[in-house]
């Protein structure tokens, strides 16, 4: 039983990481109806840019490697790059494709994925790098003493970061003027446009926010597994998360991520040995597939998938 809980908690915490990636998808989908396949590539780009700036800044400015100034400067510069990337995407890729079928936009973001990956590696190189956030990856002692369950401090930190991010996004959406405009656009483009909400500004903002979410996700992912190309594959796991949670729901992204994370780890540990292991690679997709047959709109999604 103790082992079960350990696997469950480990799964839930890795699910938090999926949630963070899925969050970026949901934000853009809600506001512009674009299914941004490139979100995973953006996470990779963000992490690589952050690490890259951390490496080159000390040399440029004569600062001490690993100091707080370098950290925050790199953070700000990476954030700026993400916002620029988001705005450019909106301007160059999506604006010419306005009113095209969804599937065209989807294919365009697949192209964007390759473009972003190529540019990221072209600028910063393809080496695997470590990313240091200053949080040690070791079990929490008092919890281990009390119940014997191993929970890493780092995972807990990641969960807390995700929590803060989601809460602040929820507050931003709920209580600010821009947030209200965002929700209006998400609800109905035409109506929002007719009451004077500048659609293109809003899309710019959404892509900026998605860039920010990608940066946070990229930093946490990178600190956990190193910044490497494999990140983009893991980010694909955010897709079943979305199907489970519904494409338009922020809470859905979180809950879906937790379910996927926990179930894939449990399946790997308990079902895996029976069939030869390695089922983590496809289990989330099959789960999502089974789920689609039962409830195509996801747990929290809106019921508007047209049936044929």
């Amino acid at each position: 039983m103790q082992f079960f809980f350990e696997v469950l908690i480990g799964g839930l915490l890795s699910g938090v990481l999926y949630s963070l990636v899925a969050l970026g998808f949901v934000l853009i989908y809600k506001a512009s109806g674009v299914f941004n396949f490139a979100q995973g590539a953006m996470v990779f780009f963000a992490a690589l840019t952050f690490v890259g700036f951390q490496e080159v800044l000390p040399g440029w400015l004569g600062l001490e490697t690993g100091s707080a100034v370098v950290f925050w400067l790199a953070f700000v510069l990476a954030l700026a790059s993400m916002v620029v990337l988001g705005l450019l995407t909106e301007r160059v890729v999506l604006r010419p494709l306005v009113n095209q079928p969804h599937i065209t936009l989807f294919m365009a973001t697949i192209g964007l994925t390759f473009l972003v990956e190529g540019i990221a590696q072209g600028i910063w190189g393809a080496n695997v790098r470590g990313l240091e956030l200053g949080i040690v990856d070791e079990p929490i002692e008092w919890l281990m003493d009390r119940s014997g369950i191993l929970v890493s401090k780092f995972d807990l930190f990641a969960a807390a970061a995700a929590g803060v991010l989601v809460t602040s996004l929820a507050l931003f959406f709920q209580y600010t003027r821009i947030g209200r405009a965002l929700r209006a656009v998400a609800d109905d483009h035409q109506a929002a446009l007719s009451i004077g909400i500048p659609l293109q500004h809003i899309w710019g903002i959404v892509w900026g926010v998605a860039g920010f979410v990608a940066l946070v996700a990229g930093m946490i992912w990178g600190a956990r597994n190193g910044v490497q190309f494999a990140l983009t594959f893991t980010a694909l796991k955010a897709l079943p998360v979305l199907i489970l949670g519904g494409f338009t729901s922020v809470p859905g992204a979180i809950v879906g991520g937790l379910i996927i994370g926990a179930s894939e780890k449990l399946a790997e540990v308990y079902i895996g040995p029976m069939v030869g292991g390695g089922i983590e690679s496809w289990f989330p997709y099959m789960l999502a597939l089974a789920f689609l047959l039962v409830r195509p709109e996801g747990l929290f999604g809106e019921r508007h998938i047209d049936r044929v």
Binding site: F35, F37, V92, V93, P96, L97, Q100, H102, I103, T104, F106, M107, A108, I110, G111, L112, T113, F114, L115, V116, E117, G118, I119, Q121, G122, G125, A126, F233, L236, L239, P240, L242, I243, V275, G276, G277, G278, I279, S281, W282, Y285, M286, A288, L289, L292, L293, P296, I305, D306, R307, V308
Partner: protein, 355 residues
């Protein structure tokens, strides 16, 4: 002046309904087939046959498969490589386990195996569409590769699922040189491409297009979307399966399941986007483009920039160029190279007179 249908009067329904109604197209088809079937294998070097022409033909076939599903029936799939894997491993197992099975029969059986698997993974398309379906086909992509790696039966207990294709023998003739393999590939691809060209203008093909354009309207006029979609999945997977079997038997000779990864699926998707969604000709143009572009980049970039940029740069440049081209084509020419081909033909009909 040379390419126009003036004076070609149709006097029977069958003449009116043939695949290439214009005489020049009909001759053009045979001329092209003769050039690629007779002249090219005599003149082309071994490198060209092995590394360029055979893969272009095989990928064209896979692209036709995906085009049937995505371009004609409107169902986006990201799992084409997995269906290719089913075809390759299917044909291998049929050859292995049935003594004296003719190669072409194994090829067809491999394709049918892929079709069966395709129908299975096409079932969700009855309830979902668009990118929901894309994610569902991702499940096929990862699951099939995993099954082929994990169950050694499929690869006859080879380590990590690597299979070595048996010798290709048809009617006692051994197809072992690159020329022979090329001609065999060309024959299969030409026959299947012609069949596809014909298929998309039959009732089935028109039903696919109706479902693609508006499924509700299609249902109202009496098309069964369920049947149309499942048939599209079956036919598409059959084409991908045969392409996969050729990939193993006439191109690489030795394949492993991991070779049929998501990257290959994306590559095939790119072929139809660049070549032209909903066009058989476009599948060939797109496949040629995607196979030739990396080779071109590999040769041209060092010539311009020298070797200072390093080896990693070339692969990154390839990613950037592919990604950029996809976006460019979707924005500027959504019908791809096939549309340019068509424009060329229309211009040619008027040439040299402007009206």
């Amino acid at each position: 002046m040379l390419y126009r249908e003036a004076g070609q009067f149709k006097t029977s329904y069958s003449a009116d309904q043939q695949i290439f109604p214009i005489l020049q197209d009909r001759y053009g088809y045979w001329v092209i087939l003769a050039i690629f079937g007779v002249l090219v294998p005599m003149l082309a070097s071994e490198y060209w046959l092995k590394a360029i022409l055979i893969p272009v033909l095989i990928f064209s076939l896979a692209a036709i498969g995906l085009n049937i599903l995505t371009g004609y029936a409107g169902q986006l799939s990201l799992g084409s490589a997995a269906f290719m894997a089913v075809g390759a491993f299917g044909a291998y197992n049929f050859m292995l386990r049935i003594d004296g099975l003719p190669f072409l029969v194994a090829l067809i059986l491999g394709g049918l195996a892929a079709a069966a698997v395709g129908v299975l993974f096409g079932l969700p398309s009855l309830r979902i569409k668009g990118f929901y379906l894309a994610v569902a086909t991702l499940a096929a992509q990862f699951f099939i590769v995993w099954v082929l790696v994990k169950f050694p039966w499929f690869s006859n207990n080879a380590s990590s699922g690597v299979i070595t294709a048996q010798d290709v023998v048809i009617l006692g003739y051994h197809f072992d040189g690159p020329q022979a393999k090329y001609v065999l590939t060309l024959g299969v691809v030409a026959a299947l491409a012609l069949a596809a060209k014909n298929l998309v203008r039959t009732a089935t093909g028109r039903a696919w297009m109706a479902v693609r354009d508006m499924d509700v309207a299609a249902e109202v006029i009496g098309i069964r979307p369920m049947r149309a979609k499942l048939v599209a999945f079956a036919v598409s997977s059959f084409y991908c399966g045969v392409a996969g079997a050729l990939y193993a038997y006439t191109y690489l000779g030795t394949v492993e399941p991991e070779g049929f990864n998501l990257d290959l699926s994306f590559k095939i998707l790119f072929m139809i986007i660049i070549g032209g969604v909903g066009s058989i000709m476009g599948s060939f143009l797109g496949a040629a483009f995607i196979v030739l572009l990396p080779i071109l980049l590999d040769n041209v970039v060092p010539a311009i920039f020298g070797n200072a940029l390093g080896a990693g740069f070339a692969s990154n440049l390839q990613l950037i160029v592919f990604g950029g081209l996809i976006i460019f084509f979707l924005i500027v020419e959504p019908h791809g190279l096939a549309r340019l081909w068509q424009i060329g033909k229309e211009k040619l009909r008027l040439w040299p007179f402007p009206h």
